[in-house]
């Protein structure tokens, strides 16, 4: 059932104000929406990254729920240990709670790249947990380095636009697709701009026992080079251009697109608003935009076909 803002406003804020994320950061918006969708006790965990360092500066913590940070690449493995401990202690009667929510967070660096194996293992093992990737499309915590989530053509500090190179030369990894290929009960792609869709997806995920994965586009003003008050708009444009479609996959089989833009906007409506793509406006780089646009179109068409398979 689609949640109402009125209901969500009554939910406790498990991520307190006062944390030190940048103005306009997409990540805490995502975290708050997710935690609003949770009922009952929750253990959260986070990979090393912006979210972790800016919310847990000792002796303070912004987390009003149980939280564990271990390292960069092992948020999923760590939470799999917590979830297993719960089952072991519950079996021995040492824990009262009948239902506990386990949620592991990681950025795209901690999820697409260095933590990929850890997530794959935890999902395959079937732990009752949700893994959330807040994807801001580069290593933002260390200063905007290229990740496998960085889009083609984006300039980053390790793959910058220069005299002979024009930013990232490869397409981004289809992480959501990789997770769907694990054939786990629930995989979804969401965006902070479509809060109702995001909250509904988390509610649905947590109603299912077993491993779940949600990939959330989470714009980063200093990394994408847009103004802090444009964050939600940047996420929205990614959805409206079909760069970031909103969809869900059950058991790797049933694909459902949750939002189909009536008028798909050209990719330039999104990239022209961000400093990281500015160099693409040079006439000699026109082909990069065309390649990116063609790939977005192709991916969207594939997604529409996947939806048809088990409609």
């Amino acid at each position: 059932m689609a949640p109402s803002l009125k209901d969500l406003a009554k939910k406790p804020e498990l991520l307190s104000p006062g944390h030190r994320m940048c103005a306009g950061c997409g990540a805490p918006i995502a975290i708050r929406q997710i935690l609003h969708a949770i009922d009952g006790p929750v253990v959260t965990g986070c990979a090393t990254g912006c979210l972790e360092v800016a919310t847990t500066i000792y002796p303070y913590t912004a987390w009003r729920c149980s939280f564990i940070h271990n390292a960069f690449e092992n948020s999923a493995a760590t939470m799999s240990g917590v979830e297993t401990a719960y089952r072991a202690l519950k079996k021995k009667g040492k824990i009262k709670e009948d239902k506990v929510n386990f949620i592991a967070f990681g950025g795209d660096g901690g999820s697409y790249d260095i933590g990929f194996q850890s997530i794959s293992g935890a999902m395959e093992r079937g732990h009752d947990m949700l893994y959330v990737c807040y994807d801001n499309e580069a290593y933002m915590n260390t200063g905007v380095q290229r990740s496998s989530a960085t889009p083609l053509g984006a300039s980053t500090t390790t793959a910058p636009a220069g005299k002979v190179k024009q930013g990232k030369e490869e397409f981004r990894k289809d992480m959501t697709g990789c997770m769907a290929a694990h054939k786990i009960p629930y995989v979804a792609q969401a965006s902070i701009s479509n809060w109702r869709d995001l909250v509904a997806k988390v509610e649905k995920a947590m109603s299912i026992k077993g491993p779940k994965f949600i990939n959330i586009l989470s714009p980063c003003p200093p990394g994408w080079r847009h103004l802090p008050d444009e964050t939600v708009e940047m996420a929205k444009l990614a959805v409206e251009t079909c760069f970031w479609p909103l969809y869900e996959v059950e058991y790797g089989k049933v694909w459902r697109i949750n939002y189909k833009p009536k008028n798909i906007l050209p990719i330039t409506d999104w990239i022209n608003r961000q400093g990281r793509f500015r160099h693409l406006n040079k006439p000699q780089n026109k082909h990069i935009i065309e390649t990116l646009q063609a790939r977005v179109k192709e991916d969207w068409e594939i997604l529409l076909k996947k939806e048809e398979i088990f409609k």
């Binding site: 939280f67 493995a77 799999s80 401990a85 202690l89 293992g121 395959e124």
Partner: protein, 391 residues
């Protein structure tokens, strides 16, 4: 009455784990550890234990899951060897820094490269500064008994540090011995229940584990950690005494063999202590006053005890089953020399032996003693560092 079973070292440790009945075990196979977890998995499959196993996709994830599990308040174990331990490296420090009393048998094996599956101490030696307690075992019986004691030591409120129990790859892990397995209930009572003060699953008091800790607090937390390791010296002795009271067998930081009237002594770790005892017996029959000091507690390093024991000999040889690659000598040699600084001026020499599982026959150890007696007589060190048994 003893309950002798014919067990390999790995099986003996699996028996200890069965009797400990940990809440969670996360593990990944690696030679020569594999048969340990296989045996334990049999106990799980037969319902002999309540343990939940996490069969992870790497040792990195094994230790990561152990950190999550221990932080959640579960008694947590794993086991590994060599490259598996190396892959855990980053998380070893996170386990100890978070003061999580994880118990990990490590079946010692040579580190790559070149790849080699046989026993030496290069794997755990590299982890000697990771703030894990390290107990070495001479045989399967000791590996079994060290594992039982390890739980009590690690979980002690004054310690709260993770612990490795080491056993030499293949020599102990796959060698069949008669092992006295104690009564399940007595082991269970000895080990007691794990009651951590802080856990992730206490929802009345939500806590943040593993926060960012900068220049204003990190140092204090590390200072507390150092104190935990220091306290472990006392706690290991206390648990050893209690073990003697319960099971009738004494455990201390070190074990001397025929040291009382010895002129010279060798110092070593692990299974070679058994071979050396045989050599000492032979030499004693020839009237040569030789003895050995076996180090059981390598971390924390029982410096005072070792200095007190060793300072009265005429010459000392330290046998290392790993190289320090520091142009000085092996890690045990460095620590022994540091412990004896200012306490004695007797010659101390180092032998590096058995790398990659190279056999250490009685003849080699006999040669060490003969050289050592000569050194004691002349008071001159001919070779400070010898690679023993290398071509």
């Amino acid at each position: 009455m003893p309950n002798y079973k014919a067990l390999t070292g790995n099986e003996a440790v699996a028996w200890a784990m069965k009797q400990i009945n940990p809440d969670v075990v996360a593990a990944y196979p690696i030679t020569p550890q594999t048969s340990l977890m296989q045996k334990f998995a049999d106990f799980v499959a037969d319902g002999d234990v309540d343990t939940e196993m996490v069969l992870v996709e790497s040792e990195h994830s094994a230790m990561s899951a152990c950190v999550g599990s221990a932080a959640a308040g579960a008694r947590t174990m794993t086991a590994t060897s060599a490259n598996g331990l190396a892959l855990m490296w980053e998380i070893l420090y996170i386990a100890s820094g978070n003061r999580l009393p994880i118990v990990m048998p490590v079946v010692n094996r040579a580190l790559s490269a070149p790849i080699n599956i046989h026993g030496d101490h290069s794997d755990t030696m590299g982890a000697r500064d990771s703030s894990w307690i390290q107990l070495f075992s001479e045989n399967a019986q000791e590996a079994y008994e060290n594992t039982i004691q390890a739980v009590r030591i690690a979980e002690h409120k004054d310690v709260l540090l993770p612990i490795m129990v080491t056993l030499d790859g293949f020599i102990i892990s796959h060698g069949m011995e008669t092992v006295d397995i104690y009564d399940d209930k007595r082991v269970k009572d000895f080990v007691g229940e794990f009651k951590p003060d802080h856990t992730l699953l206490n929802f009345k008091k939500p806590l943040t584990f593993g926060p960012l800790d900068l220049f204003d607090y990190y140092f204090e937390h590390k200072r507390q950690q150092a104190e935990g390791m220091k306290n472990a010296l006392r706690v290991i002795e206390e648990v050893g005494m209690d073990f003697r009271k319960t099971f009738g067998k004494a455990y201390r930081h070190t074990e001397g063999y025929k040291l009382d009237d010895a002129d010279v002594a060798i110092v070593l770790l692990g299974s070679t202590a058994g071979t050396a005892k045989e050599v000492i017996d032979q030499l004693r029959q020839e009237g040569k006053k030789v003895g050995q000091l076996k180090i059981r507690t390598f971390r924390p390093f029982p410096e005072e005890e070792i200095a007190n024991i060793l300072s009265r000999f005429k010459a000392i040889a330290v046998l290392d089953r790993s190289d320090g690659f520091n142009a000085i000598g092996g890690p045990l040699y460095n620590d022994i020399k540091a412990a004896l600084y200012g306490k004695t001026s007797v010659p101390i020499v180092n032998y590096i032996y058995g790398l990659g599982g190279r056999d250490i026959p009685v003849g080699d150890i006999r040669k060490v003693f003969e050289d050592l007696l000569e050194t004691a007589r002349t008071k001159e060190i001919k070779e400070p560092l010898t690679y023993l048994g290398v071509r």
